[in-house]
């Protein structure tokens, strides 16, 4: 057909919203776009270790249906024809959902997570599954049964974790968005490491049904994409109460329209986030960015978050405690891999020990310990109290300012293998991100340039409970000042 000769794919860095315009203008079809995107997943996506599964057939079918809808003038969805991937811990009808663990090897959930079905209903097309740390436990994507993921900006470095696959894809190509999950920074930290934009929504704003649980009271599904406008669009599709998740809530008052007339004005720069433990160039960059926001009319003040120093300890206790219980279901009896055993006890211990990787076993052990008789009050009980203090402090500090500003990670993307064998070095990645999870508030990571070696740098804003849209509005405004989000790594095709 003559249309094929005029085929004009959008530029590789194009955002989802730009691609939507492109498709609406008839410059290319969803099928053409998807074919090209699937090729990218099959080549670069697989080379980076980011794409674990690619659903060529079902995705192309969906793309053709999408094209038919556009052609016939049927209702088109908010993400009509836009490809997306889901992290390996998010259930999809297509493929497997193994949370990158060998204990769930081959697990077919048979149903879409609520977020996935909402996206499909709005025309988005599931193109594949992205790699992650085993059960989302990690900050470097080195604990996956599917192998390590490489940072698209420097292949000997980690992409961050646990949503490392999603971030590597979002950081190296436009057109699509990627669902990740964030328990202690698992969306924001890899987004920062890969030059993507990633949102951890308010806890409860997005249904967790279909997400393989790690630390249920901290877990939240969220989008990773090129820019805040794309993230906003995805949030608008996936958010809202779900009758299959009793902890999900509708945040109806916080909309793009409502925040347009009441945007963020006062930003609190968290002084503890710029302490000694954070790399000098990251501190510098955050201060510079704060100045730029100041020149753009924002009021930036320094604020103190005294609980920040204890947040990581608190997080390690609560996340592992909940994980030790959430992962008890992988027992070799009802689900998952089973080792041959003569008795039930051998079956339990054998299946769990061979099915879980080292880091997961370590966290289960710690979580079991902090809940066990004689220690629960000193560890889990204390952690709950500290958590309450953190929530209270965040609440109080955010009465005075509209958003809190901090780095995402205290250091730049590190080399593959550098930290994975030292749990403390790995847990240090989380110190600036866990507070948002513990407090249940929204937090977003956005690119703010690159360091001298060309690696992306990110900054983080936290907002009030339920005010995700206000954060996104701030992020969009930032991204109109600073176009570093637009940059793609060179050499990536």
């Amino acid at each position: 057909m003559s249309e094929d000769r005029n085929l004009q794919l959008p530029p590789q860095s194009a955002t989802c919203l730009e691609v939507l315009d492109h498709l609406a203008a008839g410059k290319c079809s969803a099928e053409q776009l998807l074919t090209s995107y699937l090729d990218y997943l099959e080549t670069t996506g697989r080379e980076l270790g980011a794409a674990v599964e690619v659903f060529r057939e079902s995705a192309l079918d969906a793309a053709r249906e999408s094209d038919a809808r556009r052609k016939n003038g049927d209702r088109v969805g908010l993400l009509e024809g836009i490809p997306f991937t889901a992290k390996m811990n998010i259930s999809t009808i297509e493929g497997t959902t193994d949370a990158s663990s060998s204990i769930l090897e081959g697990f077919k959930s048979g149903a879409d997570a609520t977020v996935v079905s909402r996206l499909k209903n709005q025309g988005a097309i599931l193109a594949g599954k992205s790699n992650c740390d085993e059960f989302a436990m990690g900050a470097s994507n080195e604990t996956s049964v599917h192998g390590v993921v490489k940072n698209p900006w420097s292949h000997d470095r980690v992409p961050g974790g646990s949503s490392g696959g999603a971030a590597a894809l979002a950081g190296s190509h436009g057109w699509a968005f990627h669902l990740g999950s964030d328990t202690g920074g698992s969306i924001r930290q890899p987004a920062a490491f890969c030059g993507a934009t990633g949102l951890k929504p308010t806890w409860g704003r997005v249904s967790r049904r279909g997400l393989i649980a790690f630390g249920s009271s901290l877990d939240q599904i969220g989008p990773l994409a090129r820019d805040a406008a794309d993230v906003r669009r995805v949030l608008e599709v996936i958010e809202g109460a779900d009758e299959l998740d009793a902890t999900s809530v509708a945040c109806e008052r916080d909309t793009a329209e409502s925040v347009a007339s009441d945007p963020v004005r006062r930003i609190g720069l968290v002084s503890e986030g710029l302490s000694e433990g954070v790399d000098e160039d990251i501190r510098e960059r955050i201060r510079e960015s704060a100045k730029r926001l100041g020149s753009a009319g924002y009021e930036v003040v320094e604020v103190s978050l005294q609980t920040l120093a204890r947040a990581n300890a608190c997080y390690q206790v609560i996340a592992t405690a909940e994980a030790s219980s959430n992962l008890a279901r992988y027992d070799g009896v009802h689900i998952g891999q089973r080792v041959p055993a003569e008795n039930l006890d051998q079956l339990y211990c054998g299946s769990r020990s061979s099915g879980f990787g080292e880091e997961v076993r370590r966290r289960i052990l710690l979580g079991t310990f902090v809940l066990s008789s004689g220690y629960i009050d000193a560890y889990y009980g204390r952690a709950q109290q500290v958590r309450a203090e953190i929530r209270q402090e965040i609440l109080t500090v955010l009465e005075d300012v509209d958003a809190l500003m901090m780095p995402v990670s205290p250091f730049a993307p590190f080399c593959i293998g550098e930290r994975v064998s030292d749990p403390l070095a790995l847990y240090a990645c989380d110190i600036l991100t866990v507070t948002a999870n513990l407090a249940g508030v929204p937090a977003i990571a956005v690119p703010c340039g690159s360091d001298e070696t060309g690696l992306p740098m990110g900054m983080q804003w936290m907002g009030r409970h339920g005010e995700d849209q206000r954060l996104l509005q701030l992020a969009e405004s930032w991204q109109s000042l600073d176009d570093s989000w637009r940059k793609l790594p060179t050499g990536v095709k």
């Binding site: 630390g215 009793a246 030790s324 008890a328 027992d331 009896v333």
Partner: protein, 485 residues
């Protein structure tokens, strides 16, 4: 109270019992998912990702279970907590697919209250409750001859109430009477089917003994696997005897969990306190806290049926029922409800009671059925009984009409209509009677000589002559009248 000779002195021992009663709530679906709650279904018919503990599935509490729980707490006099929470009880077992049971540990929904029961000496007493909490049931495992076990998760995640009592000095029969009292109350308010054989009511018993006059309770053991009232009674007798014997011989009691073996009539050690599982309770992060409003409590209070003691008193005073006749009527709330419904249709309470205990109960007992499946409505029953009062036909006729309706499964109303249209006109009746009397002089002579036997024969002849249209009692009166003259 057991007496054991101790160094020549006779020592009296007192048994102290505490109960943990598990009652499955009579809801349509399971506690946290939309699977049907059905006993006896084909294995694993009613399972879904939530109750099988699939990754990604989340529990969602259902409202009817909360309402049942509120009703149970109200009829046991508990204080319902404004805020309560679910916690996870962590342990590994094949019938527990999540590796934890969703229960309430730190903040149960109901505190206090008590179980009313009758002491062996017929005095009324109350066994105080510590708490009631909601939790989900586990599945079942069965053992195969090939050395494997099969796991059926149909029961898994069915809604349960756990009713925990204080320990109290009581006999084995009194303990069983407490469980029976709970069973009756929960049945009465439609919370639990209360069938121990089917396992929807289960009980663990804590037993300790102490010498009479002692200030502190002895070390207790927990008995499991009690699936009938008989096993509750017998196990307490056997276990307290074991403890007394041990103590009298100078031994000590080990705090432990013991299993009741019904066939051997012994209790056997299952695990000691030191081996008791470390359940690592912590708040269930997948479920919001439960807040039960005063309005909801009020709604449930108003929806509660008249409680048994109130009904009993009213029947004694207002209906002038005898204690004895009340027993079968009170056995199930639906029995009394049926009776009340007949009364509200205008039947005198005494008639309603007589008919219920007679015709209706006989029918139900013969078929082992419950009143809910009685095929005749209270309205039709009332019509039948009232018809006898209005002399439309005799009580005997009414009974045979009911019999006919039940056997032939035909409409009682239709039969009443037919029977009610019997000829009562004196002139017409007199014609048939006179004809029969003149055709049967022998019978007439016998009756006049004082032999009443042929009366039935003459009646039958009149009925035949009238093709069943004649009103039997009128006919009888007429024959008597004619022969007396």
């Amino acid at each position: 109270m057991a007496k054991i000779a101790d160094g020549g002195e006779v020592m009296n021992w007192i048994t102290v019992v505490g109960l943990e009663i598990h009652a499955q709530m009579a809801t349509q679906t399971k506690m946290f998912c939309a699977c049907r709650r059905e006993a006896g279904a084909e294995a694993n018919l009613h399972i879904c990702p939530v109750c099988v503990g699939w990754p990604g599935a989340l529990p969602v509490l259902q409202s009817e279970a909360v309402r049942c729980a509120i009703r149970a707490a109200l009829c046991l006099g508990c204080e319902i907590q404004e805020l309560s929470r679910f916690d996870r009880k962590n342990y590994f077992y094949p019938d527990l697919p999540k590796g934890y049971q969703i229960s309430q540990f730190y903040k149960p929904y109901a505190l206090g209250g008590g179980i009313p029961f009758i002491r062996d000496d017929q005095s009324a007493a109350t066994l105080p409750l510590v708490r009631i909490h909601m939790e989900e049931d586990a599945g079942k495992s069965s053992h195969e001859s090939d050395g494997t076990s099969r796991i059926d998760l149909n029961r898994c995640s069915s809604p349960l109430l756990e009713i925990v009592t204080e320990p109290m000095m009581m006999s084995s029969t009194e303990a069983a009477s407490c469980v029976r009292s709970v069973r009756n109350l929960l049945r009465w308010v439609d919370v639990c089917d209360g069938d121990m054989e089917k396992g929807n009511l289960r009980c663990d018993v804590n037993v300790s003994v102490m010498p009479e006059g002692a200030k502190e309770y002895g070390t207790r053991t927990e008995l499991k696997n009690l699936n009938s009232f008989v096993s509750i009674e017998r196990s307490i007798v056997v276990e307290s005897a074991r403890q007394i014997e041990l103590l009298a011989a100078g031994g000590t009691i080990r705090q432990e969990t013991r299993l009741w073996d019904q066939d051997k009539e012994i209790t056997e050690s299952m695990r000691g306190k030191e081996d008791s599982p470390d359940y690592r309770y912590f708040p269930e992060p997948d479920l919001p806290a439960i807040s039960i409003s005063n309005a909801e409590i009020q709604t449930q209070r108003e929806s509660l049926p008249e409680m048994p003691e109130v009904r009993e008193l009213r029947w004694l005073e207002e209906y002038k029922f005898q204690e004895r006749e009340i027993v079968p009527l009170m056995a199930r709330r639906a029995n009394g409800d049926f009776l009340e419904s007949m009364v509200s249709e205008g039947v005198a309470p005494t008639d309603a009671s007589n008919w219920f205990r007679g015709e209706i109960l006989r029918y139900l007992n013969e078929r082992s059925e419950k009143i809910e499946s009685f095929p005749v409505s209270t309205k039709s029953m009332a019509r039948l009984i009232l018809a006898t009062k209005e002399d439309l036909f005799s009580v005997g006729r009414a009974k045979s009409l009911l019999q006919e309706a039940l056997e032939a499964e035909s409409s009682l109303d239709h039969l009443i209509d037919q029977a009610g249209s019997q000829v009562q006109d004196e002139g017409e009746l007199a014609g048939w009677v006179d004809q029969v009397l003149s055709e049967n002089p022998e019978a007439v002579t016998k009756i006049q000589a004082g032999d009443e036997k042929p009366m039935g024969f003459l009646m039958g002849q009149v009925m035949r002559l009238s093709s069943g249209q004649a009103h039997p009692r009128k006919v009888q009166e007429l024959i008597k009248d004619r022969l007396a003259n």
